[in-house]
Structure formats: structure tokens, C-alpha cells
Amino acid sequence: MVKKGLVVKAKELKTDVALVKNLELSIGKIIDDTWDEPMGPTPFPSMTDLRDWDFKLLQRYKPFYLPYCDVCCLCTFGKCDLSGDKRGACGLNMAAQQSRIVLLACCIGAATHIAHGRHLIDHLIEKYGRRIPLDSGGLNIDVEAPVTRLVVGVKPETLQDLEEVLDWCEEQVTSCLSSAHTGQEGNNIDFESKAFHVGMADQVGMEVADLAQISVLNLPKADPEAPLVELGFGVADVKKPTILVIGHNVPSSVGIIDYLTKKKMLGKVEVVGICCTAHDLTRYEPSAKIVGPISWQLKYIRSGLADLIVVDEQCIRADTLEEAQKVKTPVIASSPKNCLGLKNRTNDLAKELVDDLVEAKVPGVLILDPDKAGEVAVEAAIAVAPKRKRFNIIPDLEAIKAAGEACGGCNECIRACPNNQPIPEAMKAAALGDLDPLATILGECVGCARCDSACPKDFSLHSFMIKAGEEKLWEEKFMMRSGRGSISDVEIRNVGGPIVLGEIPGVIAIVGCSNYPEGGEAVAEIAEEFAKRRFIVVLSGCAAMSVATVKDEEGKSLYEKYPGGFEAGGILNVGSCVSNSHIAGAAIKIASIFAKRNLRANYEEIADYIHNRVGAVGLAWGAYSQKAAAIASGFWRLGVPVVVGPHGSKYRRMLLGRADKKEDWYVYDARTGDRVYVGPAPEHLFTTAESKEEAIVMLMKLCMRPNDTTKGRSMKLTHYIDSHKRYFGVMPDDVHLFIRNKMDIPITMKPEILKILEEKGWKETRIPDPTLLKRMIRKRG
């Protein structure tokens, strides 16, 4: 264990030879290393320490760049036209520019999580002290902080141990970001390697943040039975004053709950949340409620349901203050990263702040003390509620009909809509008094309101949709299992073997935001498809919320139907964005607990293990953010494939394997040193699925790994072929690439597949002990 520093002070020190006054001795850092695991090759790795590993992956999964436009406009040499084989004034070509943009996105995402972690830890240390022990699962977890152990080689035990880990994370982001400066890195593959590096740092930063809040705020600790919490537009009791919290960083929400508890008012004020702060809010206090994912912001604010809004950081609409003013809702900004132009009133008396908000002297205030923000939010909401009387700006039917009649059908709204929704046609119907088309559009709306901005007549089209769909909105009441945090060691022991041998067909991590192409129900459909097939389905963030929004005929959500454990057929919500680290952590722990591999600063070996053995795949169906890019990047470096929904194509680069290039799919057999063909498993490291049907089939295929036993491969092939036939209507044409010997063939499909093998000229290959690392070959001489 590394401790940050030691300071010894003595006012007066008498010795035989001297009298010393005001002695202060400071030691930068002492090592108290009680962790007996030997240090691996890459402690606190620099930007280039894992470059060779990255290059191995990138040799197999080559970038396919998808530029938004032909130019670079990042410096004053430009704009530079990079089309074709042109180079910019700095000498950069288009491939390097695109990889640079990927790196920039990953740096922004990683910086956001890491700064989030830094804010949390500073706050928690200030409030509770440095020596609070870390505890993410009590006796059920021995391998705490698996990502941190693996990446930097530190085993953190108290809050203060996390500070040095964050120091390293911050240094990596700064270094990687600096390489994107004009005249620095010039090679696209090196940019990609740096994107991987900062993605790895992002995973550490996320783990640090969640470990700290789980430990100190006593959030669920690896609990498969974490409480079921209410979710939906209609869950709040509108008779009570309502506080809406939006964002990702929970201290100000904790301040609200703590104040309500202290004043014995818990339950008398509704506290509801949007986005990941809602996850963490309900992890802290399960009686709090979740409205929905990020795309619910405008719906809720414009409907006037919030008497007061508290924003912290990340994924908050930039026009929150303006929208809140329209419905007379005061706003408290609580993060230095998102001040909304408000005056910093942190040092003012709480009563003065409450009075100013209640009397609408100011539209909002910036309060950087979470406890004060909590107090002011509660007192102001209670006083504002009777004045506001749920004032809203949702138009009535007559106003919508009149707008429909006045609409000129210019198409600016549909051309602004990310999902090309037929708004002009819906307006024509509205003119005739039919609001159903507008209500249908709301079901697939991502809540961006670009249609409003584009309308030359300034119609509030998004509000029209909200009115049209309000009946269904009010019925939105679902149950979601609160974020459970990490995966316990016991769970890993139970499933590690079956996963590595392929007998549990895969771990599907459905994560990310709600930028869906056709509504959020698809996420629930995908999750259930895999749970029914006895995969392990792990969820986080907005995707975890969307999964809750589909009920069966008995009115149950998937969280009520399927177990919350890390087990075959489980559907488990790990929590907020920063909880994504537990998904990587589970894969890492399989290598540590099941395979007994050393974790400590041993990244390359463990990534090689995961890539070749652990059938885990990520799906970010509605990914929109730079944070999602960084999260994906962390998984890429671990060798875990990630699939995005169609909007994810706008990340501007895929990492694609070529199944038709046999030479790309050889590994070493660690037992013999032979090079062995293993087929395209997994075929891609990052790609886009165009439809939910394609996502399902692709995820099944991407779960295959070279290490699968014949029994495991047979099972995985059964799911792949069965889903391919079901959703594509045909037998896959690449099935021969995944059959190593005839034992791999699913018994029920044997005659059909044997015929294919014959047609394809298939030859048997052996199942190696697979590795991409020559140094892992055990045979010597």
C-alpha cells in the first residue's frame, strides 16, 4: 500500500547536542507494502508502456475511419482540406486527424469521470477524514478495486490511498491530451494507442469514484438483492413539493436527503432524479425516485412537475436554467463544472438564499457546499410549491390544433430531428384534431428539442408531443433494481469456470445513454433475449433505466422477473456511469480468482487472458457522449468488443476485423509455441449495429473466444445460429469459421452444418491454450 505522505512536527526538541525549535519534517511518500502479490511489469504505466499490446490489437482490428467532414479546423493554419490523400498545413492526414478526434473524445470522457472522482474524494475526505476504510462488499469481496490493482499496482485500503491513484489518472489525461496538440503525434495508430491508454485511465477513475461513494455513503455493496426503486414519469406524488436532481455527482443529492432526514421530513418532499445522479440517489436512499434517463429532462421540466431543480454535473441540458424559468422553477447549480452563469452564493446564509429563490429575486443560485445546497433546496421547494401550483408550459389542444393549421410544412423540424421523425405529417394531423401521430413520435423522441429550435414559426413542437403523449407518460410507473455496485468474489468463483470454458455463453454489458434510434424499449427486448438464453446481463446508466420500462402481462419489469446476481440468466444493474468499472472489474476478477493470475500491474497478461477467454461484449445502444467513448476505449484495451447503436457510427471510427483474412486470426498455443488458427473470435472490437435484431445476432457471435471448450463453443454456436435464423431468416454463411472440430457442432444442427463444412472445404484445427503474447509460451528451447 502506498501512503501519500508523512509530516512530523515538533514545537521543541531537546537532544544531548542541541535544542531544536519548530521542527517540521515532511516525507513525500512512504511505502507500507503489506500486499504480498509481486509487482507486475507495468506499475503506474506511462502512455507508451502498453503500446505493444495496443499495436497487437490494432493489427487485427484495423480502424475504419468515418469522417464527419473533409476538414480540420483545430488551429489557425486551417481550415485544412484533408480529403483524399491531402495533408493539412501541419502535415497531418485524414486518418491521423480522425484518430486524433477519437482521442480527444476519450480524453474529454476520461477527464469527466476522473474529475468527478476527484471532487467526490476531496468532498468525502473533507467531511469524513482521510482514514475511512474502503469497503465495497464486506467479507464477500477480497479483491477490491480490481481495475486499480491491475492498472497501477496499488491495493487501496482507505480514502487517502485513492488520491495517488487519481494523481496518476490526471497525469495520463493531461499527457494524452497534450499529444493531440498541433505538431505532436502524427501517426494514426499511435493516436489510437493513446485513446486506449486514456480509456484505461478512465476505468481506474470510475472505479475510484464508485469505490469511494460505496464505502463512505454506504451504497449497496455487491448486493444482488439491492432494493427495487420506483422509476417513471408518473412516480412522484404531485401533491408533495418536488425536488428534481439532474446529473451524475451525488453529494448535493445526499445533502438533500440528509437534510430531510435530519428534519424528519423524509417522505414529505418528493426527491426525484434524472440520469446517473438518480441512480446514486436511490442507491443512497431507496425511497427517492427516478424519472428516467437524460432524454426525460425537457418533458419533466416543461410539465412543471419540479418545484426546484438541483443540477450537479454531466449530461445536463445547457438550457436548463432558461427552461426552468419558463415554468417558474428555481435552480440550484452545485458543481464548479456547471455554474450556469449563476452568482456564487456558497457563503451566504441559507435563509437568504431560500428567500431569494422563493421570492423569485433570482432565477437560481450557485451553491458549492453540498450540505447547504441540500438545505436550501428543501426549504425553497417547500415554500415555492404552493406558489407555483405546478405551473407548466404544455399547450392545450386548441393551441396545438391552431399551430397545426398554421404550420407551413417547411420540413425544417424533420430535417433537424436526429431520428427523422415525421413531425410535419403529425402537425397536419394535429390540425384535424388528431394528436396520435405526435404521441407516437414522443415514444421515439430523444428529447433534444432540435425541432423547436428549427421551427421558423417558433412552435414548441416538443411540448406539443408531450401534450399528445401525456396520458401514457402519467402511466409510466416501473420498478428498477437499484445499483448493486461491484460483483462479489463468491459470484466470480461460481461463474468464472463456466464463462471461461464457454458454458455460460457470455456476459452482455448493456450500458450507455439514451440516444436511441427508435425508443428505449429495444434495450429491454435485447436484455430479455439474453437473459432467457442464460447469458449474464449487466446493466448501467441510462440503459439500466430503459430496461425497467417494459412490463410483462403481470405488470412486472425485467428486474422483478430475473435474479439480480452475476449468474446465468441474471439481469443486474451495477449502477451509474462510474459503476461501469465493476463490469471491467468482473472480467479482471475472473482472471484473478478463477485462473489465479497475478493482477498487480500485470495489465497486458490479463487483457490477453480476457480477450482470448472471457466471452464478454458491451452494447451501448444509445451512446452519445464522450464519456461513453472513453468507457468503450477502456474495454477495447482489455480486448472486450463493443457494439454501438446506429447513432454510435458518429464516433467516426470503427475497429473491425476481417473474417476473410485468415492470416489475421492466429494465436500462439502457450503449451507448444505453435501458431494456431482460431477463426475470427471475436470478429470485431468496435462496430455499429443498424437494428436491434442485428445487435442481438452480433452480440451472440462476438461472445465466441478461442479458449471455448467444445461444449461451450457448441452452446455459443447454437445461440448464434438460432438467433441468426430467427432474426435474419437464414443460416449464417460464416459458421464454418467457428468450428474447430466436429465436437463443436451443435448436435441438433449436425446434418445441416456438416453439409456446409463439406461445401466450404473446412479442415479441422486444434483448440490451443491461446495467447497473443509470445512471452506467455511455456515451452522453452
Partner: protein
Amino acid sequence: MSAKPEPWQTAEIAGPKKALVITKPEIAAAMIKRAKRSILVVGYLSTKTDKDTGKMIDYAIRLNKAAGIPIVATAHTIQEFVKKGFEQATQMNAMDIGNRLKDPTWKGLDGKGPYDVALFMGLPYYMEFVILSGLKHFSTNLKTISLDRYYNPHATWSFPNLKVEDWNQSFETMISKLGGN
């Protein structure tokens, strides 16, 4: 709807290199005729029924029959082809086909060599936009043609933004000029 060459999604501004507009469907037919080896990539939106027309996938099948263009069906589009009794389409992920079309050494679906013209229809607009951009910048000797209803500026050639009836008529003319029915 205007026939001006403006990107359908307002913010999807491309350039300086932008698609030439197919002002007459005869031009597209001539390009297909001139191509040594062409390929048609068909996305799942082609299986959705437009209220004023049949499914666009029917035009894809007719194009195949008229000009012998091989078809790659992305996502689950293949199922609709099979339902219609058309079994010659190859299923492939949209990014995967884009990545292969970029590669001048790819031997094609039939192993006979690279394609010189790739036609696209039925992908989500923004997804087709970026794939066409990838091909514009990184392919060699490949021309791309967007047959969708909306101007897609990263193609080499694209239809302008069209009314449904004009779009349908464009396909009818194109197929007729290629000798199909």
C-alpha cells in the same frame, strides 16, 4: 421538397468535396451500365413501407434483375429478401461491407475482384453519411451512388431531396433504362 443539393439533415454539412446531384435517373442508369463491377448495399429501412409507395426493397430486387447487381443486405434486411423469394443477397454488417469496399485488394463477394461502383439505399441517413465519407476518403477507384430519397453529400453521386412520387419515378426510369421491368 426542393431538388437543391442540400444535405437532408440540416447540420450534416460536408465538403469541400460534395456529391454530384443525379438530376436525371438516366444518369444513374448510365453509370451502372458503365461500371465494370457494381454492388448494391441495402439497409433495413428499405423494408419499411412508405405510406405512399411499396417497400423500397422491391426496387432493389428489380435493380438486381435488371442489371445483375449483386446485393448486400445489411442488418436483418436479408429476412425480407428471403420472404420475397429472393435468395441471392448476402448478409453483412454495414460497417463490415464499408470496410471491405475501402480495401482495393478485396476480391468481392464472388472472389472475382474489387468493385468500382457501390450503390447504397435504406440505411439510416446519418449512418450512410459517415460510411460514404469513409469511402470517399479512404477507398481507391470506387465511386459511390446514394439512391435514397435524400441528398447524401459524401457520395460521389446522390439523388437530391425528392418527393416520394419523384423518387419512385426515378427508380422506375432507372430500371427501365437498364432493361428491366
